[in-house]
């Protein structure tokens, strides 16, 4: 399974609406709440065995599934 597929699987497990969300800010739209944000961070940390610093928990990085994937790609490269 590719990294992207693994990320999508984590997101689907937490809130399947994330996968079909086509807007620009799912936190502001109410698709994603703060508990789910925490869950996403924790589960991605576990899935990829990395630590995601709190500074990355900003709306721009969790605006939709594409921004989450691109954040993770950046963190996995580091």
């Amino acid at each position: 399974m590719s990294a992207e597929e693994r990320i999508l699987k984590v997101l689907e497990g937490i809130n399947e609406k994330i996968l079909t969300y086509s807007g620009e800010n799912m936190m502001e739209d109410g698709t994603l709440d703060s508990f789910e944000l925490i869950e996403i961070v924790s589960q991605l940390e576990e899935e990829f065995d990395i630590e995601i610093d709190a500074e990355y928990a900003v709306i721009e990085n969790f605006a939709n599934k594409e921004t989450i994937i691109s954040l993770m790609k950046k963190l996995l490269k580091e």
Binding site: E28, I38, A57, V58
Partner: protein, 506 residues
Amino acid sequence: MTINITEWLDKTAARFPEGLALHDEQEELTYLDYRKKALGIARSIIEKNIRHEPVIVYLEKGVNIPVSFFGIAYSGNFYSPVDTVLPKARVSVMLSVLQPKLAITRHGLSKSLDDAGYKGERLFIEDICPAEDDEAVVTSARSDRGEISGAEDLLYVLFTSGSTGIPKGVSITHRSVINYIEWADSVFSFTEHDSFGNQAPFYFDNSILDIYCAAKSGAALYIIPKHLFAQPVPLLSYLKEHRITTIFWVPSALIVPAKLHAFRNVDLTSCLKRVLFCGEVMPARHLSRWRAALPDVCYANLYGPTEITDACAYYIVDRGFADNEPVPIGKPIRGVEMYLIAEEDGKIRRVSEGDSGEICVAGVCLSPGYYHNPEKTREVFVPNPFGPGLMYKTGDIGRYNVHGELEYISRKDFQIKHLGHRIELGEIETAADSVAGVSRSCALYDSVRHKIVLFAETSNTSSFIEESLALLLPDYMIPNKIIIMDEVPINCNGKIDRTLLQEYIT
């Protein structure tokens, strides 16, 4: 003795006229401006000859809401804030309960009020001029009001979820708020050097501590932009930048920075002095993270439903807790009695020491009841068998721990706390049952994942149900997950088998 909350603003504006009073993303007001604007609102209301009436405040969150609250109080009326993002159907129900003759709003929101069926007069916040001859306005308003400016008059009506689908308007008097704020001030010793970082929406009663403790002490009230609460580092940076000394948040808001270890990124040791929380259970493990990062801060757990003026019990954290230990709700605040009761054959008795029982509250904090709803009022505000007056049956189960501190255990019915909001699951079910094609539904709470789950017996799709519910319920009541079933399981009594469904989600 204070008999009207406006006296605090009078005194503070005289003591600290140039002190910062209110701050939001667009605007800042000094105490002098705060009072003048409030008096301008009062004058406009008085000119309409409206008294003893509910005035709704229909504005987006910002400095103009507390200003309107004070303006309405100066005018001898009482306020009821209505969230501008609520579905029209829900606003309409609230309006039918309140029957308001006046709304404070802005031009851009006026059509939404029309759409919700509002027919009363409107005051547009943009058109109201601050009252320059303020003393005359106050003097004339107060002498005109005569006896109605007393402490027993209503200050506000706030709506809470109702199990039958109709939200209940909880009325609260000046007297109850004065008792609560004077108690909070005596315990936490707020001064003009403090700054409050407000999280609670102004239609939620946690905000009254922020608004009125600030106005009484001369502290500044910073209205924190909502979007920051999901971004822990910018949130803590905001607190640091504005030198916030006091926060009174729901635990849901405190959990995010704790869980993501945001304290590593922002050091708040030089500014934050008090962290108060209320509105839902504070998990001990997250409290421990706050305490480890900021050990010199005063942490306090407050407890109470809207019906008893925000909080009637408190516990100042004085020790560490294991992750699975409950953080106590402590002891009653000044002027409040609390009892743990059991009911058998219609008789109420206090439970034995160490046993659990329903938490009942009596004293100055009690609401006079639900606005224009004597039936619901009689159900939960009952004659106090242990003292004078009435007591309020909270529906919460509690017990005293070995330290003699009260602990919250659970609800005795289907009320939940979700993201700090009090929700009757029955209200979600009533809304779901009203959706075309739904023959039966059951709403449950997954407290581990913090999700509302709705089971619906229908041939419709979950997205259709969700879209329909969005027209009836506030955002925070929309189920996070909707499970469509051919048949909802029924138990031997012919009722929906909630136990089986609860097992299914956990």
